[in-house]
């Protein structure tokens, strides 16, 4: 991840530069949407969370810490908003059932396997704190250091959380005979 000019864009944005804001929006719209989708497994919710994320970015421009990198700020907001969304709509438990239902039949399993939905379904069965490290690593392509920065936890903890997340995912997939 090499976006050295994000923070410069933020500086310009704070000064009212429309183009700078739109550049950041264009640059991060898709990764934010994808991260939200992988956290929520629902396109409409991902769209709404993406919208909320950029509204929060705007509302809190003056609170941005220039000593941190922009991506870590916007990804942190994305994960927080996604988790808040799940809590608010009480969907976490429903999603687990939904995910379990989705992989219940062999035909559904075959269809899902083609689209990666079986992995996504398993992802929805693990706790948010594990799902978010998987999303940061495999969807957003963050390094250990970058994940550490986003989540504000030590790198050692990032590694252990990632290992545990994979172990849990593997167990879910094995339970379903998918891996």
């Amino acid at each position: 991840m090499n976006k050295p000019d994000d923070n410069k864009l933020m500086e310009r944005c704070i000064k009212g530069d429309r183009q700078a804001f739109e550049t950041l929006l264009i640059r991060y719209e898709k990764p934010v949407y994808n991260a939200a989708y992988r956290m929520l497994h629902n396109r409409d919710d991902a769209r709404d969370v993406t919208q909320t994320v950029f509204l929060k970015v705007y509302e809190n421009l003056d609170q941005f810490d220039p000593s941190r990198r922009f991506f870590s700020w916007v990804y942190r907001i994305t994960l927080n908003e996604s988790i808040n969304w799940l809590k608010k709509s009480s969907r976490e438990e429903a999603l687990e059932h939904e995910a379990a239902d989705k992989t219940s039949g062999p035909e559904q399993q075959a269809d899902d396997a083609k689209t990666g939905e079986s992995v996504q379904a398993a992802l929805m069965m693990i706790k948010s704190e594990y799902r978010e490290v998987i999303v940061l690593k495999h969807v957003l392509g963050c390094s250990y250091v970058e994940i550490s920065e986003v989540l504000d936890i030590p790198e050692k903890k990032v590694k252990s959380r990632l290992y545990t997340a994979r172990q849990l995912l593997q167990e879910r997939l094995t339970d379903q005979g998918l891996h």
Binding site: R18, T50, Q51, Y163
Partner: protein
Amino acid sequence: MAIDPKHVELINADIDGEISSADRIELEALLADNSDVQALHAELSALSESLDSLPDLDSPPHLKHTILASISQLQQSQGNNGSSSFLQGLFGAPALKYAATFAAGAILTLSLISSDRASQRAFDDVTDLVGTISDPVPGGPGVHMTQINRKEIAGTVTLRSSGPILIVDFDLVSSGPVDIVASYSDQTIWFNGFAQLESSGASISAQSGRVTMQIDGKRRYAVFLHNAGDRDITINLLFMSNGEAIYSTDIEYAQPGHAG
């Protein structure tokens, strides 16, 4: 299968591409003669590949515009507080630019509308309003706003009064062609003009009690209605895509003292 946690860490670091040269040598030695390590490495590699190959989804095509429209609305609701200066610069549109497109819009309207009450005099009336909608619509008394947040279309529609003229301000973005039918039952109120901001090629038609227009992409339209008696009015907005109604809402104007 009990594997030393240190070896598990090496396997994960290798999969993540974050293994040091020294650790790689150690892992290769383990992989050469430890079947448990081999099995776990293969298992986690396959999982990692599955995760890496999750499809990269395209965000909805109009999401960016929806976000910008939402921020504009936020600006409107914030009125003149401290942060509005930022957005004034960010999203405010120059009145002169609007004036130019207003003229084009008026010409366009003259060529396309079929109104039983529209006249050149009517367009002269609304010419005075040039620039009025170029500024973000402030909130407060006399301004009635409805927010639309659908997959097919999103943004705001604002209704306000300027003397005898009612201005219906459509600040919307659609993911495809959407027809908007604005209808009102009070036959004493008549279509008085149309303008568009930073766009061209709009189609609009006006009949007694009804104005129909089409939106495709991000558009800012203003429909002017003549309301000489400053009468209360309810306008029904019907949004249609591919001939089917996708959303309907009412927006109301009440003269000062009548509201609430």
